[in-house]
């Protein structure tokens, strides 16, 4: 089972300039941050879902849906417990906070589903981030996926000798995780140790960024998308000020 979210599709969303995708991510975060009631946050979640549909990345939702729903439920319960405002607003506030968190998570998943690691590096560079920092961000995302893949292989290999961390009671599953950790940690250390060697073996040098001049040009669709994000942000601010 793979854990990487990016899927190479030929949709309009995938074809956007990486800077526009980053701007879109920021806009979705902003929309979630500025909205404070359940209804408007539900609309922001809905916008995320619409983007998942038009970018043909519903598979990422399928992969992460359970985790997002669980996080949403836990957030909702935590806010119910720790809410300190007027009693009448407890449930509305908790559901709004939970939706905000879920909305931000969905935006992140959507971004990773339509943006390759290379686009993330180049998008961040074009947005002004230094190459080493941009490369580190993209590499971390990539390594997290690779680490998870290794974890699945190790779990499979351990299950083959009777240590099944997937089936059985919660207690037996927790017990079964202990033997998975040693090989996983050692694999992780080994990976980290060999990573710089592997990168430098291919001429990578933090101080010498590859030339990407002329590779990315803003097209009309990118401009329209950027204008839409700006207009929508202005409308949200206006609505917030007036309400």
């Amino acid at each position: 089972m793979g854990i990487m979210l990016y899927s190479d599709k030929k949709t309009a969303v995938h074809g956007l300039d990486p800077r526009v995708k980053l701007a879109g991510l920021l806009w979705l975060f902003f929309a979630a941050a500025i909205s404070s009631d359940t209804l408007s946050l539900a609309v922001v979640c809905g916008i995320n879902l619409v983007f998942f549909i038009i970018s043909d990345t519903a598979a990422s939702l399928k992969k992460t849906g359970l985790m997002v729903a669980l996080i949403g439920c836990v957030t909702f319960m935590l806010w119910i417990v720790f809410y300190r405002g007027e009693e009448a607003g407890r449930y509305a506030f908790s559901s709004a906070m939970s939706l905000r968190f879920v909305s931000m998570l969905l935006s992140g998943i959507l971004f990773l589903s339509v943006t390759s690691a290379e686009e993330i590096v180049n998008g961040l560079r074009l947005a002004g981030l230094p190459y080493p920092a941009a490369f580190t961000v993209a590499l971390s995302i990539r390594l997290a996926g690779s680490f998870m893949n290794t974890a699945f292989v190790i779990a499979e290999a351990q299950a083959a000798r009777g240590n099944d961390a997937v089936r059985g009671s919660i207690i037996s599953r927790i017990k079964a995780f202990a033997p998975l950790m040693a090989p996983l940690i050692l694999n992780g250390i080994k990976k980290a140790e060999t990573l710089h060697l592997a990168l430098e073996s291919k001429g990578f040098s933090p101080g010498k960024a590859p030339d990407i001049k002329g590779r990315y040009m803003l097209r009309n669709t990118d401009r329209i998308a950027l204008a839409s994000f700006l207009a929508a942000s202005a409308a949200m601010i206006l609505y917030k000020v007036l309400s």
Binding site: K202, F204, D211
Partner: protein, 546 residues
């Protein structure tokens, strides 16, 4: 072009020397094979001559290493990167991008090549090597051989002056190995080539051969070094079968066939004995028909209609090109992967994970995915303790399996501190201690030197003789020829052939379809009189001294 003099290296000051007084000079375009057993110092040397050590990975180095007059030991990696490239033994770590296409352009981009040019070169190279269909795939989703091929091409594309390959064929199918060697020999690649290996299988593709042991060069010369039996023995390298068959290296315009015809005669009766087909009258264990399997996130089927029968006590060797579905099929047979389409019966009943638990033992290619305990004994005893068996039985069974694998002396050692061959034996023992009825081993000999390979295969042979059903996945043709009784050849997600080894290796179309190849000894026997002989032992039995 390359001049190395008195090069010594240790990982820490005062630590034993990993390399001791190495001298090597290479002319432009020269191809050198450096062979030695596990721990001989090949990997350390590969990193130094590629300019990664001591610059990136630290250590204490003495001596000189000049590349076109430049001091490689003191130059920054950013300056040595355009000169020398290395395929690491752990090639998976060199795949750091999200798609194969990005992987192929990464090196040239770092060297300052414009993106469009790098992209075009990547697409051309992929087309040449037949991996154009993988360009948009995530490297982590590829099979082991496809990964190794992608990692190798991601270096070749930079067209370095020196290409160092540390055990580059461990996961690549034989037809692709041959293709790569022919490509490197075709003149398209003009740089120097240094290949580190544990065998001399492809010695004829190199100009020079160096035998290495204990951090030192013990013999250096042309191809005739493949016939230096004493030096080979010292280096822990098995002589090539062809050289053994001829009793030494053949030179001076003679061919191996000429020499054999002159000095030996063919015994047809011996050949008759070998040709008797193996028949297993035991009942069926597995019956597979119309099996299809699709990975959850894939659009294509990894298995496209497999039909296969395996009898109790069988010894089956599974061959096939990279990505042909070998591992996927074996995981279905072991009950690790559930299937939705087709039928898989185990002793007449539909297979399930629950049914196969304890019955099928699956040994993974990488032993480090299994090992976790503090001692060899605890590692092997783990599965028995999981079954809550009484401790006296655990001790008895663990000691018995350690004895079978010949690792009793290492019972108190940390398994991670052992060499790769021993770790593989421990991982194998820790699965087999559960006494499964069917044993499936995924590339059990990868990365093992001749001695470790011999030990491993002896144990597997013994298990089969004691009645266990054994299935091995391999792409080592000499292993397939020497061990096992039947071959199942896979191609494009289905079993293209399942039957006697001799029939398989005699069929050109089948060999081509499954990415397999005949070994040198097989080719020689066919050339001599058209009678196929599979191993050096068979050859010696049939071609007797006059």
């Amino acid at each position: 072009m390359i001049e190395i003099k008195n090069l010594s290296f240790s990982y820490k000051k005062g630590a034993p020397l990993a390399l001791d007084s190495i001298n090597l000079s290479l002319k432009p375009g020269e191809k050198v094979l450096i062979a030695g057993r596990n721990g001989a110092g090949k990997t350390t040397l590969s990193k130094i001559i590629a300019g990664l050590m001591p610059q990136v990975q630290k250590g204490h180095v003495s001596g000189t290493y000049l590349f076109d007059g430049m001091d490689m030991l003191r130059m920054e990696r950013s300056r040595t990167a355009p000169l020398a490239a290395v395929l690491l033994q752990d090639f998976e770590s060199q795949l750091t991008c999200a798609t194969v296409r990005e992987e192929l352009v990464f090196y040239p981009l770092n060297l300052g090549v414009p993106y469009e040019r790098a992209k075009k070169a990547a697409e051309n190279l992929a087309l040449k090597f037949g991996i154009e269909g993988l360009l948009d795939r995530d490297p982590m989703s590829l099979s082991g051989g496809e990964k190794q091929k992608a990692a190798l091409l991601s270096l070749l594309i930079a067209n370095p002056g020196l290409l160092v390959l540390d055990e580059p064929f461990t996961d690549i199918d034989p037809a692709s190995q041959r293709f790569l060697l022919d490509f490197l020999d075709s003149g398209t690649f003009r740089g120097c080539l240094v290949v580190m290996e544990q065998s001399l299988s492809y010695y004829r593709s190199f100009d020079r051969i160096v035998l290495m042991d204990d951090g030192r060069f013990i013999k250096e010369g042309g191809r005739e070094t493949a016939g230096e039996f004493e030096a080979l023995r010292q280096a822990g390298i098995k002589p090539p079968d062809l050289v053994s068959a001829c009793g030494g290296f053949i030179s001076g315009g003679f061919s191996e066939a000429d020499l054999i015809r002159e000095a030996k005669y063919f015994d047809p009766q011996e050949h008759e004995k070998l040709s008797a087909n193996y028949a297993n009258p035991s009942p069926l264990m597995y019956e597979v028909s119309g099996l299809q399997y699709q990975y959850p996130e894939s659009r294509e089927y990894a298995l496209t209609g497999v039909s296969l029968s395996i009898n109790e006590g069988d010894y089956l060797v599974v061959l096939g090109a990279n990505g042909s579905g070998k591992t996927t099929l074996m995981k279905v047979l072991a009950g690790i992967y559930g299937h939705k389409k087709g039928t898989v019966l185990f002793r007449g009943r539909n297979i399930s994970a629950e049914m196969m638990r304890g019955r099928a033992g699956y040994v993974y290619q990488n032993p480090d995915n299994q090992i976790f305990a503090e001692t060899v004994f605890d590692e092997i005893a783990f599965a028995l303790r999981m079954k809550r068996l009484p401790e006296n039985i655990v001790v008895k069974k663990t000691e018995a399996i350690m004895d079978v694998f010949g690792i009793t002396q290492k019972r108190g050692l940390d398994p991670f501190s052992l060499p790769k061959g021993d770790r593989q034996l421990v991982a194998c023992a820790s699965v087999l201690v559960m006494e499964p009825e069917v044993i499936i081993l995924d590339e059990p000999t990868t990365g093992l030197d001749a001695a470790a390979l011999e030990t491993m295969m002896k144990v597997i042979d013994g298990l089969n003789r004691s009645g266990k059903t054994v299935i091995i996945i391999t792409h080592y043709m000499d292993v397939a020829a020497r061990y096992g009784r039947r071959i199942a050849a896979m191609s494009g997600g289905r079993v293209a052939y399942c039957g006697p080894k001799r029939e398989f290796f005699g069929n050109d179309a089948l060999l081509k379809e499954s990415g397999a190849m005949r070994t040198d000894i097989m080719e020689l026997s066919l050339k001599l009189n058209g009678r196929l002989l599979l191993t050096a032992e068979e050859f010696a039995a049939c071609w007797k001294d006059k």
